[in-house]
Amino acid sequence: MRIRITGVVTLAALSLALTACGSDATPASSTASKAAGGTLTIWADDQRSAALKPFAEKFGKDNGVTVEVQAISKDLQTNFVTASQSGKGPDIVVGAHDWIGNLVQNGAIDPVQLPDAQKSAFAEVAVKAVTFNGQLYGVPYAIENLALIRNTDLAPTAPASIEDLVKAGQTLKTAGKVTNIMSLQVGTTGDAYHAYPLYASAGGYLFGQKANGDYDPADLGVDKPASVEAFKKIAALGEKGSGALTRSITGDNAIPTFTGGKTAFLISGPWAVADIKKAGVKYDITPIPAFAGGKPAQPFVGVQAFYVASKGKSKALANEFITNYLTKPDLQVALYQANPRPPALVAALDQVKGSDADIQKWLDAGKGGAVLPAIPAMAAVWDPFGKAEAAIIGGADVQTTLAAAGKAITEAINK
């Protein structure tokens, strides 16, 4: 018994000692020796940070600074705001352009000054996306939007309309070649981003636009008659209708359903391509077809961008990195290679177009697409809109569902 007790005490003491020695021991985190010029810290999600690392390191080596790229796996935006507030944030953060509204209201990012010549080197839609209240807030590097991806073995020709698509899918399903007419992620709580192209094509809108082209939170379109009509068309594709849209298709299984050959049509973005290639499915990318006689099925266009943190310790250098280093084609091409989606810099885009035919197809699919609204009011839309979509696809009454969703959104905006 004594031996055991001694063991327990020793273990406890050892652990305490271990903890206590922390101040002397080198924590596992400290990496290579610091360069003389201080540190530039970049936060990004896991994928992007992996792509950025080599370039950031090269930039650091060339200029005598240490560049640390840190991957924040969960809640990057929230963590960035919290960290910034306490002065422990990074110098640069990488994220989607619809974060800008929230980051600005928290004073977490600063505008960047790009001369007109540099601005015009970017795709127009990308510059528009990162502009908020008349100021440019980030340097864009990639553009992404949804498109129709089709299995060319199962469906050799692109459908001209949603109706054609459903018909083709139905035929394949009846023939037993597929189990689903199409794959568009809905899930139990819906997905406003993926539903938007159909909604827009059927005549619905989220926010009206002001004279200067900005979205107007006061003009909410969700419960307007046009939107009710739009959702009636979507309901006809739902579980009580043709069954093209179902809540069984979720964000988790939408792409595997397509790569597994269970459907010939997938509505998704550039992030799906890697999996499709891996699965060896022959595919083609075309714009999302519209309802026959409807408006174009515009997807939302999203932009990934780099932002300068207001309270970074190396703010001048951060500005230097994103305005003068990121605006060169090499880095944007490299980021494309790590994660193939169209670069925002026209020169980089032209460079990769030659080797990757998909790029032009993604751009074509996004042509005329609506820039994903960056206004804070948009945050109030996602949840109620998605749930309304899921309910209607499940067979709920369109009118009352949308009226309730409209009320919920309005309340959340005016909280």
């Binding site: 201080g38 005598g64 004073g107 001369p115 001048a316 949840d383 569902t401």
Partner: protein, 510 residues
Amino acid sequence: MKTTTQREGGSLAGPTIKIALLGAGLALAIAAALPLVGAHAWGWLAVLAATTALLFYIYLTPRHIAAKYLVPGTIFLLAFQVVPVLYTASTAFTNYGDGHRGSKAEAIIAVQGASVKQVPGSMEYDLAVATREGAIVFLLVDKTGATFVGDGDGLHPAQFTVAGGKVVEADGYTLLSLGEANLRNDDILAFSVPTGEGAVRASGLTRAYNGQATQFYDGGCDCVTDRGTGKQWTADNDAGGFVAADGERLPQGWKVSVGFSNFTRVLTDSRISGHFLQTLLWNFAFAIGSVLVTFGLGLGCAIALNADRLRGRSVYRVLLVLPYAMPGFAMLLVWRDLFNQQFGLINRLFGLDVDWFGQPATARLAVILVQLWMGYPYMFLVATGALQAIPKEMTEAATIDGASMWQRFKQVTLPLLLVALTPLLIASFAFNFNNFNAIYLTTEGGPFPPDDSSVGATDLLITYTYRLAFGGSGAQFGFAAAISVYIFAIVALVSVIGFRRSRKQEEVYS
């Protein structure tokens, strides 16, 4: 004999260990004090000194024996749990949240910083950051190739060696590399070269532009004015934001105290009060149900496997514990897929077509089933430990009395188990009452009635709070804290009642 040896060993070892530990504590305290002294953080130093003194008092006095056992854990608890929780709860009295995180001064800096624009038609420059006698200066080349030195007084024409539009050498100045310049980040940011209109500022470290803040704050009117349009936004110090006459708000606000308004809002908001009772009832049903089913199955397995002669016992045990060893969030996602109507294995295996997460009753059944899977290994482990801790003599005595297995269980084992496990069951209830992941990663609170998407059939108060607090335009921490205080009060009440009942059992051996 044995006892004597122990006492002798103890009389020597005890004090030695005590002195060694106290010495280590003192050394640690001194090590911890050094940075505080260095930073002149006298307040914290006082806290440290008081804590150390308290520790020495407690361990040197022969009295306060309970404190000797409680203090080590309590220090950690106070510092890393109680303080954060109290501080967070105190934000319930503020509008703390996105757009209202910092002070007014920070908001003003943010407003002005966000409004800096290039003066229309002004010049842009290639920049080299340099020092002259240690002070920062800008060496500038404009579009025409003209070169200037910019200092705190203004722009002065000057001559340097320029190659490819960049300054490469300048007599009397030390050019800074990017790394060197970065070390003087704050000086460079504070530096600007005044011109007639605005000032030349650095954009990065190799370019400069003539910029000006288009919005500025005036303490006199406590308002922000736009230089171009003359529009004014007056500070609303009760709401923590700048508001214009036409109702337009600047996005950047600040944190202010709002009294009890978050608390009254919980009561008056129809989205909350309208569903509160229903959600509360389900919340109780979920927490109690989860505890009962996990405990029932866990105990059952523990009893079944608690036989010395059972072959493969340890293999069974390891396999049963596996669900608990796998990362919880991953397994919740797997379960969500299992319940998928079209693709899920549960429907396919049993030939069903149930829309599990689409109907309130099945969704509730499903989340409890998932909880059962996630939680029963825990109860199994604890019950196994408890069964082992029951002195064999007691069950053996009952066997001799001729009691059947069931009677033995009911009369001897179960009462003893409940003494040991009731506190744990209460703790488990409390944990499940707020089991955010169990709902958020499976049903997300759904299914939601189509005519009111604010609350779903499986929503717990916590998932519901989460959506209210973070679902709108940014996080509302203050409001969420207020709801949490209410939930806290409810759980406290229930736990106190449950705890009172457990007192009787506790006193069995007291």
